[in-house]
Symmetry: C2
Subunit: 365 residues, 2 copies
């Protein structure tokens, strides 16, 4: 049973109870008013009144009445599939994407376009993103409650892009005012990819989620929650040094992980434009570099699982096994650190971005 | 005002209230019963009864009566300087040490002896530690409530030494049964050094505390609390790779930080037995290696402060400044990460070990 709303302070009680009722529906839909009352400790009358408000706000939906005993039939409740939706936008070095999810987190429309933003100001990618956003909104036909933007860079707690080494003109960008109309939040792509594993793939509660692209990021999940660090900028695995005398990096350092194991670095070293055609020596070097950086992260954080996402699942089981071996060579406590490939595919961060919008609505109705 | 004890479950209420009263004394000694009642929300009668029990248990002490109004004089209360004490033991690669702290955390006796344990089984160092412990107990003349042992290795949540690369025969050692009589806990030396900075030097609540010795460890403090990781083994900074082709390390890896910036490595590279006589090129290499490893830690954890303790303060301001420069070159978000030298001196971990014992008594009387 959830904690009853009785302890919340005066004016917040109703709001708290609305979230409590929604939480029951999220956990166990379809669910009756009577079950909600039994599980929350609220009276039947209070639950009915809260449910009316949530039906009115378009957050809940009533299914056909269940046949049963005497009296008024108890129509089971579920989240409204036509209710407020979330719009996710993904800005990447080489593409933009947009998707709409409904209140249940299901993807209702998605679109993606190749587009190189390496030397472009934020407005270029955002204009393309706005076009895609318009298309997916039209396709989904839902009211969008807000927008969350995934950015491959360091995002501060205020949502401003601190620095995106692979999108140098995005430093200091405040995405909010650039997408007019809707409330906008901005988050780091790898953090969102980690949340996607937690939310949509039953990912482990203590893990380092690696997101491989042109850059390499990581989302750190501890005790089932995203760890953001004191300034909200944790998880910059791509700039952990794997070779102090290695090539210059766009971050201003040199020998960073992403200069060996990022997508562009892999393609350059393999003299190919196709990730599936990378020669063995390039994959070996990538596994070695990932092993060095990840061993450092495991030695510091003591996480039991590493999940490789983004481009890495495409590189296959051989890469996974090699990374695992390289990592274990260098982990002090020698426990069996697991290395897994993500099964979610590249759309995870985008879907998680959109889902953050609806989760906000459900947590704070 | 602290939260009143009223919410604690049935049989635990008195215990909870005892801790509440003790907490008030810790925060503001000397303090009167009336002030404790006002600050905890407990009745005067309840406070008096709890105080009697704490006086009887030797945790509190009554000062001379304050002159004042009519009625029974209100004797101010303080922690009992003759009450239960904590014994700390430090096992290091090249020495052992022991100290006794009283309930206030003040050091009442301390002793240290040089002794090389590199290839010895745990019993050797523990026998020496037991001798020192006997001496400091006799000198302090206090009843010791328990022992905490600081070990320069990875300690699991069960207190067993998982692995101490510089004390290879300690792997798997369970210190508890080896020190007879008293309840024993075991903890990582760098974690205790970090707690020492927090408890005794007003250290910052988000920081990486580096402890330099033969090995190099780190205690990670986030939000004012020690971060131990899922398995209690976080903070193994010394085995973060700073040069993938570097020298072999006792951990089985190679190119680890402590092979460049640990005490033995520094003395070997400087061809000296005196840390104060290290040539500039050795200090430069150490600063570079610390910069690489710490930049990785800051990129991953986003901590705003690094505190260098153990041997590093002896190496001076020039080392601190060089580490800061090397670190900032490689930190992605380019915020001004501070690098400080610890002002606590080498006894911090030992004192914190002893203090963990008395803190337990005060938190769970």
């Amino acid at each position: 049973m959830r904690e009853s709303g009785a302890r919340a302070a005066g004016g917040d009680v109703r709001r708290h109870n609305l979230a409590l009722v929604l939480g029951e529906v999220v956990d166990a839909e379809p669910v009756s008013r009577a079950t909600i009352a039994a599980r929350t400790g609220l009276t039947r009358g209070t639950v009915s009144s809260l449910v009316e408000e949530l039906l009115g706000a378009g957050l809940l939906d009533e299914l056909a009445a269940a046949r049963g005993g005497p009296g008024r039939p108890a129509n089971p409740l579920q989240l409204n599939r036509s209710g407020p939706a979330g719009l996710g936008i993904e800005i990447e070095v080489d593409h933009v994407a947009a998707c709409v999810v409904d209140l249940t987190g299901a993807v209702r429309a998605t679109a993606r376009a190749a587009s190189d933003h390496r030397d472009a100001p934020p407005g270029v990618a955002l204009a393309r993103a706005t076009e895609l956003a318009r298309a997916v909104r039209a396709e989904a036909g839902l009211d969008v409650a807000g927008v969350a933007v995934a950015v491959p860079g360091v995002v501060g707690t205020d949502g401003i892009v601190v620095r995106a080494p692979n999108l140098p003109r995005w430093s200091g960008a405040d995405v909010g005012p650039l997408l007019d109309g809707l409330p906008v939040t901005t988050a780091n792509e790898a953090d969102l990819a980690a949340l996607a594993e937690l939310w949509f793939a039953d990912g482990p509660p203590d893990a380092l989620y690696v997101s491989g692209g042109v850059g390499v990021g990581a989302g750190i999940v501890l005790g089932g929650r995203l760890f953001r660090g004191a300034g909200g900028r944790a998880g910059e695995l791509g700039h952990v040094v794997v070779d102090p005398d290695g090539p210059n990096c766009r971050c201003g350092g040199h020998g960073c992980l992403e200069q060996v194991a990022g997508r562009d670095a892999l393609l350059r070293a393999g003299r190919t434009t196709d990730l599936d055609a990378l020669p063995a020596h390039v994959l070996d070097a990538a596994a070695r570099a990932l092993g060095v950086a990840l061993a450092g992260a495991v030695n510091l954080l003591d996480v039991p699982v590493v999940v490789l996402g983004g481009i890495y699942p495409r590189l296959g089981e051989a890469l996974r096994a090699a990374v695992h071996d390289r990592l274990c060579e260098r982990v002090v406590h020698r426990s069996d650190v697991q290395v897994r490939l993500s099964a979610l595919g590249p759309g995870g961060a985008l879907r998680a971005a959109a889902a953050t919008v609806v989760r906000q609505r459900l947590l704070r109705p």
